[in-house]
């Protein structure tokens, strides 16, 4: 076959994610379709938060509206407080990259009930879809693996997602997956914004009515 007829693999950082197979809303809906009732969710600011709302918000979801880079650290503190619950942190690649140190901090006690899922569209979605570092082949799951996370991986297809879902929801962790999703702008589905309300609804649902001030 002549060289100019071979299919070319698009590796242009600015455009390659435009053609990724998986769609973020469908990915989160698929994972949460199997969620246990007592799953605790911490979700990073922006589109990942809207994806959770699209799939069905619950009181046991803590949405962030700021504090970029905090999602995994919040998940570590929560997982260490509640070893009897699965803790799922879902966040974007930009948010995650701002808290890379948390990959190391999670390894101090290695909470087996902690899972991090990064919906990785290689973009900063809220600021104009500029590329993040993952567009330049920065492999965050490999960073997590090098830090000692026992289960890590990158998911690029529906088949791989089916294999990952039981690990995400049940496997002894900490578990870290980056799920490569198409760079596209979905509708904004806003969760509640009041921080005290989000704090109290979570604690009330988890710890009972006496847990609110």
């Amino acid at each position: 076959m002549p060289a100019d007829m071979q299919p070319t693999l698009n590796n242009d950082p600015a455009t390659r994610a435009n053609n990724y197979t998986l769609r973020r809303r469908e990915v989160i809906a698929r994972i949460l379709a199997d969620r246990p009732k007592d799953l605790l969710i911490v979700v990073g600011l922006g589109t990942p938060s809207f994806d959770i709302v699209a799939a069905g918000d619950t009181d046991l979801t803590f949405h962030l509206w700021g504090a970029m880079g905090s999602a995994i650290s919040i998940g570590i503190g929560l997982a260490q407080a509640r070893p009897q619950n699965r803790v799922l942190v879902t966040t974007g690649d930009g948010e995650m990259l701002m808290g890379l140190g948390s990959l190391a901090t999670a390894m101090v006690h290695k909470p087996a009930n902690l899972t991090v899922v990064v919906t990785d569209n290689e973009r900063y979605g809220a600021t104009g879809m500029q590329t993040t570092h993952t567009a330049y082949d920065v492999n965050v799951p490999e960073m997590a693996r090098a830090a000692g996370w026992p289960i890590t991986g990158t998911v690029t297809s529906a088949v791989e997602l089916e294999t990952a879902v039981p690990n995400i929801l049940r496997a002894p962790g900490p578990v870290f997956y980056a799920i490569k999703v198409r760079a596209e702008e979905d509708g904004m589905l806003l969760p509640p914004k009041d921080g005290v309300m989000l704090r109290d609804r979570f604690r009330k649902a988890l710890l009972g009515p006496s847990a609110i001030f």
Partner: protein
Amino acid sequence: MPESDVSPGENTHWSGDVHAVLKDLGVRQVVYVPDAGHKRLIEMCAADPDMVATQLTTEEEGIAMLSGAFLGGDRGVLLMQSSGVGNCMNMLSLTYACRFPLLMLVTMRGQWGEFVSWQMPTAKNTPKMLQLYDVLVQEADRIEEVAEIVEAAGRTAFDGPNAVAVLISQRVIGSKKFTR
């Protein structure tokens, strides 16, 4: 230039009292970036079966971790040096927006016989930076008052909820000495 740790860490007999106060307050998660002044307290918390001591790569992780701990029903404390307060600034918006309780024990650098001028800018502005984010600042200047101030700060933090920082003077912990 070799660094001598002879001075800092010597005056840590307040550490046992503070550890006892933290236990009485029901503190379970202790998160920290190591500091010579906190050395003994960190060791006591790490050895305590009722506590979970977690070291951080940077101080702002601690603000976030303790917020998650509180969501799960745990009380916590952040142990750090004043240089790290600058690292915490945007993360304190989490504390502010959600009114999470926060107890920080901050050992001061750049304040009393400081040898390294690079420590001065953050030290000089430590109380101001915390107050900009509505963190109550309580300063402990004498060894015998540290535990009492931590107890009062802890009650203010957990009963409020409020964000409270106890600044432990460099005079209490001793200034770092350098030798050639």
